[in-house]
């Protein structure tokens, strides 16, 4: 088992957006990479449209929760998640936010936005905001920042193929959504339309 990797990611949104689903995809991707993993989830009443927050810790950890100021990254499915949960981030962390407009991040945080709702409409899969943001996050971390995520794009696809093995249509839709998010970032790079606040890196 690889003991050196330690990554902590916060995933934030509201009940019904599929925060739990993408948390599970990432956690299972960690397992196929031979890494230990911990997640902590919100269940119960908050799942009825209230604020939900997942903690994902990859590597050797004892506690399921991330301490404020310790997270390497944030996936925010709502524009205001940055204000609400940005305090979890380290000073050199990344954040990807589903938002039509730029978001204000703390100094040093690299915040990237994508209008995932619009893209979801375009691929006729309005519920796929979560997967689009996940694809976008993988692209941001691997292509824009000189950082590496504990897993690659292909690992997440492998997990999806495993989970949705008997549901061909759902699998195809899910893969398309992740690709849409991933390509969404490449298009932003092309048009130099990405939004970084704090630091410019290219």
């Amino acid at each position: 088992m690889n003991n050196s990797i330690r990554q902590q990611i916060v995933i934030s949104g509201v009940g019904g957006q599929g925060v739990l689903f993408i948390t599970r995809l990432l956690a299972e991707a960690a397992i196929i990479k031979g890494l230990s993993v911990f997640t902590s989830e919100t269940h119960g009443m908050a799942q009825r449209g209230g604020t939900v927050l997942s903690h994902l810790k990859v590597g050797n950890f004892a506690s399921p929760l991330i301490q404020p100021g310790n997270a390497n990254g944030l996936l925010a499915l709502k524009p205001d998640s940055m204000a609400r949960h940005g305090y979890f981030l380290k000073s050199d962390a990344w954040a990807v936010v589903n938002s039509r407009e730029d978001v204000i991040a703390k100094p040093g945080i690299w915040a990237y936005t994508i209008d995932a709702e619009n893209l979801a409409q375009r691929i006729h899969n309005p519920k796929a905001v979560n997967l689009i943001l996940l694809g976008f996050a993988i692209a941001v971390v691997s292509k824009a920042l000189e950082k590496s995520l504990f897993c690659a794009f292909e690992d997440v696809i492998t997990v999806l193929q495993h989970r949705l093995a008997k549901k061909k249509q759902m699998l195809d839709d899910a893969v398309k959504a992740i690709e849409t998010g991933f390509d969404g970032f490449l298009n932003q790079l092309f048009f130099e339309h990405n939004t970084e606040i704090g630091q410019k890196n290219h």
Binding site: I31, A46, R48, S63, P64, I66
Partner: protein
Amino acid sequence: MSKRTLMLGNEAIAQGLMESCCMMATSYPGTPASEILSTFAALQKKRSDKRHIQWAVNEKVAFEIAYTGSMAGLRTAVSMKQVGLNVASDPLMSAAYLGVKGGFVVISADDPGPHSSQTEQDSRLMAMMARIPVLDPDSPRQAKEMVATAFELSEAFKIPVMLRPTTRVCHARQDIEPGSVPSCKPEVDFQKEPTRWAATPKFRFHLHQELEKKLNDVSRYSKTAPVRLNIEAKASSALIASGVAAAHAKEVLEDLNLWQVIPMYQVLQPFPLHQEFISHMINTYDEILVLEETTGVIEMQLADRSRVKGKLSHSVPMVGELLPETIRKIVGEFAGIGTERMDIPSEPGVRPTLCAGCPHRAAFFAVKKAAPKGIYPSDIGCYTLGLNLGAVDTVLCMGAAVSQAAGFYHAYKNEEKRPDIVATIGDSTFFHAGIPALVDAVVQNVRFVLVILDNRTTAMTGNQPTPAMGIGAVGESLTSVDIERVVEGSGVGFCRVGDPYDLKEFISLLKEAVKYSRENGPAVVISRHPCLLDRFRKETPTRQPVKVEVADTCDGCAFCIQHFECPALVFNETEEQVRIDPILCNGCGVCISVCPKKSIKEVKDA
């Protein structure tokens, strides 16, 4: 691919039950415990051996069934949330005296925070009160291991054993390698022993003596003794932690470079605390910090108050979850090193709401129309969110809507002007604890309306079946119990069924019920429409979704948003009009009748 799989804490507990040859498991759903039984049932589907797995009508019944399985020699378990244990506390206290034959594990999941409960109560105090041992896991993996330990402990001392996970164990996921499930061939053999199983008070005295002796022995049982985690650390002060607080504390000690400095002990069995451990701690250390959730159970068993820091000394907060950042601050202070202050913004979260198209919303709107100045007692479930519509005035505990309606009636009955009282209760909650209260209301001729929100499922906790559905935990067919017949059998003179989607008719039905209740006594209206999320829903939808739009006559009064509160109704600030969010709208069409200006209209396809 690795054999390790990602397991939710509750799934790990279910896997542990399966590996330990638990032959009977019962439960009533409640966050954070619900997935234990559903996972156990799912695991059973893949097996050929026979087990009894069931959702019971309430936790008391669940407890009594599983406990009796243990009397007959089987390994059994009952799972519930902490407030469920209140309901099951009667058999718990007695079962502790009587003891067990097959191993019997009571899983009571606590919810420090609280995240999804009416209290933060500590089930370990219930174990103390009942005088049974309790195990406190720090992670899904340890929870699974502790299931096996709990059965061994239960059988070694013939005593019920409690496993007390918390939300952060139940709803954490971890990579866990499942063990193998042996082929289980238990012997069912109830041996009559009336002086035990039907003990009279005289024998109860002896059973109590026996219980205290068992506990004394349990407090010397080596397998559940506290563990010293960092042998290398030497200091005159030490840290004791249990449950998920221990998991946080391990990371905090490492982060603060204190792992090799402060000796840390993890307590696995907070009650009864091991006697040797108590003497060792008191004889070895000048200062001892105790971290545990939610009450100071370990702390109060450490006799020397002058040396122990914890909740009783106000070094640790008495209220709320012990988050890692809180533990960091406490441990930093204890070690005499400063920790940097964290600024955590107090951004209000988004409040939860009933789903778009939820039949409860229509029912609540109708309640307010039928009794605009009424008092609205309600109950535990999704429909607690009727709060957002101003249609829920009280929420106490399971089943209390009915008895609280009675309480209000009796309080006001001698007044000149009596308010109308309209109580709401879910179908599952009605079965759980509403029926005795309804019988009482009939006897006392309480003049109120009870609206049973019958969505054919236990929705809040993940759509477990209710007694009315005729479906079991493993998907088997069962007998169904008819709500109307229960109501009529209780002696209620007015019992009618309506569909809240037919809003106008439903409001008139409720008005009729209110009128009846003023003059005659209890009236019941069953508001029947299946939950939108229900995966067991068998009925084919009889109505097609209605496509709705807001006409330009909308003057932006926002009555619909304020009083109907559907998430699909959105106020457009620039146009100062209401719009329908087409992604969220499920086409129930109820809002057409809600708009006072008749500006929400059905769109007919040309």
